[in-house]
């Protein structure tokens, strides 16, 4: 039995190995399980962008791309299995789309010299590239999100939040706990009162939490949720008649899936974002001609233009740009993961570049460096219009509170470096 399995698996791996001279961008997707609603559009967007590059430009600088998918179901064990099975295929950069899997892979990717991009999730202190050499979380991270939400509220309240009550509803896991420290610091700085309301995985059961919110009457609710937890929270907020415009979700709580279920009651709900919404960008025309019309769209092809599809597309675009960068730096078209890492570290997303790519104003401009793997951390706010069934960007991508986040990142990454005997530094 074991021997048979062995031969089968070996043969399988050999069959899976792609032809050489291809740029491999593995997609650790989840199209099943409790978070599938979020995983599907992201994976579709990620795959479609590379398909478009292949069809329109013949790949990146003439080298074709391939996007092998591996189903993780948001499960860390399967995530590890996927990482190991795709490692031999020469994957250039891993995007696990799960904080849990990110934590598993940070040390593994560092040891294997493969970069990982955890865009808007994962370990926040990975922003410190001197410690986390192979992990990137540009353009924004969880703590930028927390600070961005508070900044937005400050703006709404004329710069003063003292005496206000803010509740944080969060997924009771590593992901949801991330913003707590930042919000605590910010509450000291701005004098608002913070209450923490955990919701256990997967989050269908939130009655008692919202009862507590109804009793405490916070002025604002910030939510760090993912998957089914979001829809339930929006529905529960509507049930207790919490004013939707005072309810702000992190970017993982701000897709169509989260608000459609509540119908008209969700009107006015806000969410943070680090990229544009809607399909009103030139690149979508190319996707229509080169991908959808040719019948090459990933998945069911019905997600184009949704928030999470755009995020997958954005992630793919950043990966492709980093690959171009890497080719330029090392003057070769046959790049390795190690070269890809250098390309990511030298990434400079300017407005001209974005316009050239057909994505003008789609995301904030930012520059990655060895010290700063997290970009500039610019965060915008979107709002849901239930009647038109669409999200609109209601603020610019604006600065977050460096003074608060910087020391926290320093503290957390130094602790990690000490725990793991890492000598921080840029070589």
């Amino acid at each position: 039995m074991k021997l048979k399995l062995a031969t089968l698996a070996v043969a399988g791996m050999m069959a899976a190995a792609p032809a050489m001279a291809e740029l491999v961008f593995p997609s650790l997707s989840y199209r099943t399980g409790p978070y599938a609603a979020g995983g599907i559009p992201f994976a579709d967007g990620y795959a479609d962008y590379f398909t478009m590059l292949n069809e329109r430009d013949g790949g990146i600088n003439g080298v074709m791309t391939s996007v092998p998918e591996c189903e993780t179901a948001y499960n860390t064990e399967k995530g590890v299995e996927c990482y190991e099975s795709l490692k031999d295929s020469g994957g250039l950069v891993y995007q696990p789309l799960s904080t849990g899997i990110t934590y598993q892979l940070i040390p593994k990717t560092t040891a294997d010299d493969i970069p990982m991009h955890t865009m808007g999730y994962g370990r926040t202190s990975a922003k410190n590239g001197e410690v986390f050499t192979h992990t990137f979380n540009y353009p924004a991270n969880y703590w930028d999100g927390a600070s961005g939400a508070i900044n937005y509220l400050l703006e709404e309240n004329g710069g003063d939040l003292s005496g206000k009550k803010i509740a944080l509803v969060y997924h009771n896991s590593a992901y949801g706990k991330e913003p707590i420290r930042t919000l605590q610091e910010l509450s000291k700085k701005h004098g608002f009162e913070l209450s923490e309301v955990p919701v256990d995985h997967p989050g269908q059961e939130q009655k008692s939490q919202w009862l507590q919110i109804r009793r405490d009457k916070p002025d604002y609710v910030i939510m760090y949720g993912w998957g089914v937890m979001n829809q339930v929270a929006v529905q529960e907020a509507a049930n207790i008649r919490f004013p939707m415009e005072n309810f702000i979700g992190i970017w993982w709580s701000g897709s169509e899936n989260d608000v459609l279920a509540a119908g008209a009651a969700a009107d006015g709900y806000k969410a943070l974002t680090f990229h544009g919404v809607g399909s009103d960008f030139p690149v979508f025309d190319d996707i229509q001609t080169h991908v959808v019309d040719k019948g090459l769209a990933a998945g069911a092809g019905d997600q184009i233009g949704t928030v999470l599809y755009n995020r997958g597309l954005y992630a793919a675009m950043l990966a492709a740009e980093a690959a171009k960068n890497a080719m330029e730096i090392h003057d070769t078209k046959d790049i390795t993961p190690a070269m890809m890492r250098d390309g990511m570290e030298a990434l400079d997303m300017t407005e001209e570049k974005m316009t050239e790519l057909g994505l003008p104003g789609f995301g904030p401009t930012f520059k990655v460096s060895c010290e700063n793997h997290g970009g500039n951390g610019l965060v915008g706010v979107t709002q849901w219009d239930a009647e038109a069934k669409e999200w609109t960007l209601i603020s610019d991508f604006s600065e977050t509170d460096r003074d608060v986040i910087g020391p926290l990142i320093e503290e957390d990454s130094t602790a990690y470096a000490a725990e793991n005997n890492i000598e921080p530094g840029c070589s």
């Binding site: 039995m1 074991k2 399995l5 089968l8 698996a9 043969a11 399988g12 791996m13 069959a15 899976a16 997707s29 199209r31 099943t32 599938a36 599907i40 998918e69 591996c70 189903e71 179901a73 499960n75 860390t76 064990e77 590890v80 299995e81 190991e84 099975s85 490692k87 031999d88 904080t99 849990g100 934590y103 598993q104 940070i106 040390p107 593994k108 560092t110 040891a111 294997d112 370990r123 926040t124 202190s125 009771n172 896991s173 590593a174 992901y175 706990k177 991330e178 707590i180 420290r181 256990d200 995985h201 998945g299 957390d412 602790a415 990690y416 725990e419 793991n420 005997n421």
Partner: protein, 358 residues
């Protein structure tokens, strides 16, 4: 034919009572052990270690542990995930508190601590049994997960509540963290698996195991013939939790390296291990291995066939996996309610008599 017993004479009681009384069987066992110890570590790579062998070995230990409790002593438990979490967190606290001590010590101590917790949650078993006990252990599962999420002391006040295994070694060989070699992690887990299987096998065929089985078969009758139910049940809980704690510690420290309690040790883990022993065969050490192999390796095999060979979309393969594994479980339990171990026993009987079935 396959089991040639001619000339296989046993002249002492010890020989007669050994685990593998048939010579062919015994040599096959030695061969597997030899291959596992002296061949596999030299040919292993990261994929084999991290995707197949480590989870198989670690789940086998958990299955052995649970089998002692459920299969041998008849105490239904749904708290496996929680006890694995105890092992993992105990190991983490020990690793960070005493960095210079060998990982062997940490893992074994983690097992001992879990044994203590197991005894604590085993106390209700003296008054309740069957489904009611299942619910009580279910409470243990939820309580333990809540506990490790609620009190930052358990995860050393880290911002995210995750625990990360720092780099630790055994006799100078790194076995945790990203720089651990595949063969080292495999060998480390293999030692614990072999040790668990041998200890469990010998416990279950000695007087302790007989007491457990007496309690399982009929507790009142067992009490009448002089088995102390308190001691029997609590030792079963202790030994079972010891193995489960070890598997939890290995699961966290060697296999995953970073763990979030709700995700890694949730209720689905309890069910998974329970399915392993039901499919593998209750009250059988071999069954624990067979069940772990079935549930760890089959999904990977289906994935390799579906995605890598046939090129089907990953989501369809993932759904098919659920369907196929589910259907196989049902079929299995209809065809052979006593699991793979019983199938193996029957096959062996037939092979011993072959080609003369009458």
């Amino acid at each position: 034919m396959f089991y040639r017993e001619a000339g296989d004479f046993r002249t002492t009681y010890a020989e007669d009572q050994q685990t593998f009384p048939i010579r062919f069987d015994r040599y096959r066992y030695y061969l597997v052990l030899f291959a596992a110890i002296f061949v596999v570590p030299f040919v292993i790579n990261d994929y084999w270690a991290n995707s197949l062998l480590l989870p198989f070995l670690i789940y086998a230990i958990a299955a052995i542990g649970l089998n002692i409790l459920v299969g041998y002593c008849g105490q239904v438990s749904l708290g496996t995930g929680g006890f694995m979490a105890v092992g993992a967190y105990a190991c983490y606290k020990l690793m960070t508190a005493m960095p210079d001590v060998s990982m062997f010590v940490h893992v074994i101590l983690a097992g001992v601590i879990t044994a203590g917790v197991g005894v604590l949650f085993g106390l209700p078993s003296l008054r309740i049994k069957g489904f009611y006990l299942a619910v009580a252990t279910l409470a243990a599962q939820f309580f333990l997960v809540w506990l490790f999420n609620r009190f930052p002391w358990f995860y050393n006040y880290s911002a995210s509540g995750q625990i990360n295994a720092p780099e630790r070694d055994v006799f100078g060989v790194v076995i945790t963290g990203p720089n651990a070699e595949a063969w080292a992690t495999y060998a480390f887990c293999l030692i614990f698996t072999i040790f668990s299987a041998i200890v469990a096998r010998n416990l279950t065929r000695g007087s302790v195991g007989r007491k457990w089985m007496a309690i399982r078969d009929m507790d009142i009758a067992a009490e009448i013939i002089g088995v102390n139910p308190l001691r029997a049940k609590l030792t079963a809980f202790a030994v079972s939790s010891f193995f489960i704690g070890i598997s939890g510690a290995l699961f966290f420290a060697i296999y995953l390296g970073a763990v979030e309690v709700g995700e890694a040790f949730g209720i689905q883990k309890s069910f998974l291990v329970l399915f392993m022993i039901i499919i593998g065969g209750l009250g059988s050490i071999f069954g624990s291995f067979a069940g772990a192999a079935f549930l760890v390796l089959l999904p990977v095999l289906l994935k390799v066939v579906g995605v890598d060979w046939l090129g089907w979309p990953t989501d369809i393969v993932a759904h098919l996996q659920l369907v196929i594994v589910g259907a196989l479980i049902v079929l299995f339990l209809i065809a052979e309610p006593h699991g793979i171990a019983q199938l193996w026993r029957v096959a062996k009987e037939k092979l011993r008599l072959w080609p003369f079935p009458h």
